[in-house]
């Protein structure tokens, strides 16, 4: 097959799949802005009423607060831990490093249900009650792999000559970290932090097992979905997708600006 024909075929698959991935969400989002009567949508009277309903829904607001808190705390925690491990493991090699990194990456490669189950049983056997703390812990374990990966790759890309040059120019170790290492890592931190917050915000399966009586936005949405169709679900979908979109576009912009050659 000729190059252009193959590309047309690839393009067709791409377009079809993209429509499959985007159109349902756009349709649902559309339903959030128009009144729905007996299954049919009235496009003549756009409304923000469903969003107003959400703003008055205490359980949704509580779930939103929990999700935000978990995203913030777990991304900060994994940033700190990932930095320490990236710095510690940078000069290491051999089976020690392999074993270490296998542990760091394990929660990302195991099915979430296994990770959630293990944490649930650990909290049961240690007597730590399930709640925001266990959610934060679960999310940190899961996001640590991603954050560690981004930061350790960036750290490995720091040319040793920059550190040597800094020392040669009379900087102390702390000054070198302050003026050379941290600026070099800055955009990696921003991207990794955004990505971690996003993964935490969206996490459902581990959360379902370790949340106990606490609820997060995905769990709330799941519970609402089980009850049945309602326009306020559509409004909540718009809110959730909006937050995910902002976080992921910001992460993508940070990463792509960084990888573009200067």
């Amino acid at each position: 097959m000729s190059a252009s024909r193959m590309n047309v075929a690839f393009g067709a698959v791409f377009t079809g799949a993209v429509m499959l991935l985007y159109l349902p969400i756009l349709t649902v989002a559309l339903y959030a802005f128009f009144p729905v009567e007996r299954g049919s949508i009235d496009l003549s009277a756009p409304t923000l009423g469903y969003f107003a309903d959400l703003a008055g829904n205490v359980s949704v607001l509580e779930a939103l607060a929990n999700s935000g808190l978990a995203a913030l705390l777990s991304s900060l925690l994994s940033l700190v831990v990932a930095t320490l491990y990236a710095a510690y493991l940078r000069e290491k090699s051999g089976p020690f490093k392999v074993a270490f990194e296998a542990l760091i990456y394990a929660p990302f490669f195991l099915p979430p249900i296994v990770v959630g189950l293990s944490l649930l049983l650990a909290s049961a056997s240690s007597g730590i009650p399930r709640g925001v703390a266990t959610i934060v812990l679960g999310h940190s374990l899961f996001t640590l792999a991603v954050v560690y990966r981004i930061i350790s790759v960036r750290l490995a890309n720091l040319p040793p000559s920059l550190v040597q040059a800094s020392a040669d120019l009379g900087a102390s170790r702390l000054q070198t970290i302050r003026f050379v290492t941290i600026p070099h890592l800055m955009s990696a931190y921003v991207a990794a932090g955004l990505l971690a917050a996003l993964l935490s915000f969206d996490e459902t399966l581990i959360t379902a097992l370790v949340a106990g009586d606490t609820t997060t936005l995905p769990l709330r949405l799941w519970a609402m979905m089980r009850v049945g169709f309602s326009p306020s679900i559509n409004a909540l979908v718009v809110v959730v997708v909006g937050i995910c979109l902002v976080l992921s576009l910001a992460a993508f912009a940070t990463l792509s600006r960084e990888t573009r050659p200067a």
Binding site: F14, V18, P24, L103, A106, P111, D202, A208, V237
Partner: protein, 280 residues
């Protein structure tokens, strides 16, 4: 190794051991023990039940079939998508890549919800059939069966499959296709002989991601699978809900863990073998 090195190593690995090793240990421990009013007894009965009960094995079989199908279909769709993005001119590539992987982050639970609305009684497909007059009342053909689970898994996990494929394509030098064509290979032949073997680690990783993510998923089968869409993940989940049997749940979780580790090991071997063999 000096004593100081060993000490720092222990200090460094402690948090990981505590927060990853201990929970996995708890999983293992729970699967072989049961406590009754403080008295702990050790038993292999739960593991034996998880591994020998015909009901569980049947569901495991069905789950594996669905997950393998998910992996194959996701890769079959993600591969041409990734090739399309990869063959765009350099300045359009970032935006095409963004379009490709953005759905990955557009909320897992929302995607299940939208698939449910798409496939449901009032969903898009039923509306289509009703309008075209193929059926005169909504059909449940699309929802609450294994097919609907598979379809939802595929929609959920296509972006997860596409990303590793794209990343491995990105490492194939741009002029390899031209070099192959210069030597007389058609575009398709150059892709098959040169690009795909070099991208095969990414393709294997893509299949692995889709497989593992589908394997442990219990929300999707519950929401779109209905009563007939029982999967292994749902059985495990139910042990912590209605059935409230931690030990059996842990034992079933161990089965999932073993399948996962086997898939990871198998994919490592497959990736190496594929790259080597396809070069010939």
């Amino acid at each position: 190794m000096s004593a100081r090195h060993i000490l720092t190593y222990l200090v460094a690995i402690l948090p990981l051991g505590l927060f990853i090793g201990y929970p996995l240990g708890a999983l293992l421990w729970s699967s072989v023990s049961t406590s009754n009013e403080g008295a702990v007894t050790y038993t292999l009965a739960f593991l034996a039940e998880a591994l020998s009960s015909p009901a569980y094995l049947a569901v495991l079989g069905v789950t594996l079939v669905i997950c393998i199908a998910t992996a194959i279909i996701s890769v079959a769709i993600a591969l041409p998508m990734a090739l399309f993005v990869w063959s765009r001119p350099a300045r359009y590539q970032p935006i095409a890549l963004l379009v490709l992987i953005l759905p990955m982050f557009m909320s897992y639970i929302v995607k299940i919800y939208t698939m449910r609305s798409l496939l449901g009684l009032n969903g898009f497909f039923n509306q289509l059939l009703l309008t075209t007059g193929i059926v005169d009342k909504p059909t449940t053909l699309f929802l609450f069966n294994r097919g609907s689970i598979l379809a939802t898994f595929v929609v959920l996990y296509i972006p997860f499959a596409a990303l590793p494929i794209y990343l491995s394509l990105e490492r194939v030098p741009a002029n390899f296709v031209l070099a192959g064509r210069d030597l007389g290979a058609s575009y398709a032949r150059a892709l098959k002989d040169i690009v795909l073997p070099l991208a095969s680690p990414g393709i294997v990783a893509a299949a692995l991601f889709a497989f593992i993510l589908a394997l442990g998923d219990f929300v999707t089968p519950q929401m779109v699978g209905g009563p007939s869409g029982m999967t292994f993940g749902r059985i495990v989940w139910s042990q912590f809900g209605l059935a409230f049997n931690y030990s059996l749940g842990a034992a079933l979780g161990i089965v999932l863990l073993v399948v996962t580790v086997a898939a990871l090991a198998g994919s490592g071997l497959a990736s190496r073998a594929l790259t080597a063999r396809m070069g010939r």
